[in-house]
């Protein structure tokens, strides 16, 4: 039964743009999946190890800038650039992890915020490399043929399939977290870090491993974001608000669950984008409100509350 539901969900994921092909809906679905990846990325660290990061935009921005600069300056195509962006983000997460994981609880959260702000200021001021506040812009994406037809990048559907594959990978990675030793160690750290240390878990190594996996997906999402919007600047990809949005998607959806980030993204992004269509600004008002409601009445998140009805613990 469960396998049928999962198979149907994956099938639906890949035929969805044929069912509803209006550009707004395709855009909406792309944004939902992009935020699923970001929520899942945050969940891998925040949900499993319990380390609240307010600096995940650092990894998103690193991925976005890597993909963009590789393409603009070296001519490396985005399908290499996007995974390389993820690897660069994972790589920069290592020193950040070794520094910030010396701190606990709210102090860790504040230190990640400070690191992300420092990286934003560097990106803003290192003009020869990042083009500073002006940002980076691409006009054309490379010519690609797929099964003999050339892909039309003006259409949103190719982007949909790319992000669908990335989102599937992020959800599979979360499932992997919930089934493997890394995940079990992480949960032990979340419950009680001193006890975890006492029974011989290397807590720094485990947290750094979770962080780099998390950063990889944030970086990949960043690379996709840069290619999809074709324009990035430091305030757009390194902002505190972006980090906070990732937290909210993961928490509202349901921490440590596999489907939580997807549910959180469906709910928040759908409402947010619809709001944006009507009023242009202030769609984050809904995110803030949803977060307050979730912490007050549903700290386990939407999926955390609903999953028992579906008889699953993921």
């Amino acid at each position: 039964m469960k396998k049928i539901v999962i198979a149907l969900a994956i099938l639906l994921l890949f035929i969805a743009p044929w069912i509803v092909s209006a550009p707004f809906f395709v855009h909406l679905m792309i944004m939902v999946l992009l935020w699923t990846v970001l929520g899942a990325s945050w969940n891998i660290l925040g949900g499993f190890t319990g380390q609240v990061s307010f600096g995940h935009s650092a990894f998103l921005g690193a991925g976005a800038y890597t993909t963009m600069i590789l393409y603009l300056k070296l001519g490396i195509a985005p399908w290499y650039g996007i995974p390389i962006g993820g690897l660069v983000a994972a790589f920069i997460s290592l020193p950040i992890g070794f520094i910030c994981f010396r701190l606990r609880g709210p102090y860790f959260a504040l230190s990640t915020l400070a690191v992300a702000e420092i990286i934003r200021l560097v990106a803003l001021n290192w003009e020869s490399f990042t083009n500073g506040p002006v940002g980076l812009l691409i006009t054309t994406l490379p010519h690609v043929t797929f099964r003999g037809r050339s892909i039309d990048w003006e259409n949103k559907i190719p982007f949909y399939y790319i992000i669908a594959v990335i989102a599937l990978a992020a959800i599979v990675a979360t499932y992997f977290m919930s089934r493997t030793r890394l995940g079990a160690y992480s949960l032990a750290i979340r419950e009680d870090i001193d006890s975890a240390e006492a029974i011989g878990i290397n807590t720094v190594q485990t947290r750094v491993a979770a962080l780099s996996l998390s950063a990889f997906f944030a970086g990949v999402a960043g690379g996709f974001y840069a290619m999809y919007l074709r324009y990035i600047d430091p305030d757009a990809v390194f902002s505190i608000a972006l980090s906070v949005e990732m937290v909210f998607i993961a928490v509202v959806g349901g921490l440590t669950t596999v489907a939580g980030p997807l549910i959180g993204a469906i709910v928040l992004v759908t409402f947010g984008e619809t709001f944006r269509q009507i009023l242009l600004v202030g769609h984050l008002i809904l995110y803030g409100f949803a977060m307050m409601l979730a912490i007050r009445y549903m700290p386990e998140g939407i999926w955390g509350k609903l999953r028992h009805w579906f008889g699953t613990r993921h």
């Binding site: 319990g50 609240v52 307010f54 520094i99 010396r102 701190l103 609880g105 709210p106 102090y107 959260a109 504040l110 230190s111 915020l113 400070a114 690191v115 702000e117 420092i118 200021l121 560097v122 803003l124 001021n125 505190i240 608000a241 906070v244 937290v247 909210f248 928490v251 009023l279 600004v281 202030g282 769609h283 984050l284 008002i285 995110y287 803030g288 409100f289 949803a290 977060m291 307050m292 979730a294 912490i295 007050r296 700290p299």
Partner: protein, 304 residues
């Protein structure tokens, strides 16, 4: 932070010493306001053990309050502080009673996330109402700066400095001399013991939160004539505020005052001797270093 009516650099002083003194003075002036915001955050942390992510938005509220007073009522922004302090105090009581009180027992991290949600909510509500346009307050007396001893001091910042000192001294007197102040300090040191000694912890928490909110809002009113106003200004202010309270040691009032002045001076010196664009980064680097090596603050008085 963008500053509109003054720049940290001395424009016409030629000697090295003058530049140095000028940047120290500018730093202390801005630092006094940072200190006020920091004291608000630190007393709230001391009593309730919560890190209020929405603290910067209370400053933003004060800034818009001053802007409204000038634009619609024609009241001088510095005079309007008399209206905004009580309003902010009541707002603080309301926020604590109806929004925060039930969340605080759920733990530090849940409260952190909750106040982050609240912060995003208020900032975007203001964005919706006031739009994202940058606004400034133009004052007639703000055009020519004071020039004692060849140092240039913008008048709005000088007034703000004086009022910040008055308010901080008044607060200090309140904390040291009054019964409520003693109750706040006792709760901050040892909540259980304070409760056993007959301190009404709930009432103390309400007053503390309202006091912190009023301080942030008052600092916002005083800052408004010297800064650009925009709805998400709280985001950067709250980040600076963390730097300040961690420098001084979380929970320590004298620490927050020293931390605020120190951050002001460091930023101002950094703008002159390192680089203007990186002045904000210097604060964050110091913040990380202090968190890692002196988690109880530079002066070792806070609680780590």
């Amino acid at each position: 932070m963008r500053t509109s009516s003054y720049s940290g650099r001395a424009q016409d002083s030629s000697s090295v010493m003058d530049t140095f003194i000028q940047s120290i003075v500018s730093g202390l002036l801005t630092g006094s306001l940072y200190a006020m915001i920091g004291v608000g955050l630190t007393v709230i942390f001391g009593v309730m053990r919560i890190i209020n992510m929405a603290h910067g938005d209370m400053v933003m509220f004060g800034m818009y309050g001053a802007f409204l007073s000038v634009t619609f009522l024609g009241i001088d922004p510095f005079l309007s502080i008399i209206i905004w302090i009580p309003i902010a105090f009541l707002m603080g009581v309301f926020i604590y009673r109806f929004l925060l009180k039930n969340i605080v027992p759920a733990g530090e991290l849940n409260t952190l996330l909750y106040t982050a949600g609240f912060s995003l909510f208020i900032a975007n509500l203001v964005l919706l109402i006031a739009t994202g346009n940058y606004r400034t307050i133009k004052l007639k007396y703000a055009i020519v700066p004071l020039r004692p001893f060849g140092i240039s001091i913008p008048i709005p910042l000088a007034i703000a400095f004086g009022m910040a000192i008055l308010i901080t001294v008044a607060l200090y007197w309140f904390l040291i001399r009054t019964d409520t102040g003693r109750a706040i300090r006792a709760t901050s040191q040892e909540p259980e013991a304070a409760a056993l000694m007959g301190v009404n912890v709930d009432r103390t928490a309400t007053i503390t939160f309202a006091l912190g909110t009023a301080l942030a809002c008052a600092a916002g009113v005083l800052l408004a004539p010297s800064l650009y106003l925009y709805p998400t200004v709280g985001e950067i202010l709250v980040a600076k505020c963390f730097v300040i309270v961690v420098l001084g040691g979380l929970g320590s009032v004298p620490g927050a005052i020293a931390g605020g002045l120190l951050l002001g001076v460091v930023e101002s010196l950094g703008a002159v001797y390192v680089s203007v664009p990186y002045k904000d980064a210097i604060g964050f680097v110091i913040f990380l270093l202090v968190l890692l090596f002196r988690p109880s603050g530079l002066f070792g008085v806070g609680k780590s």
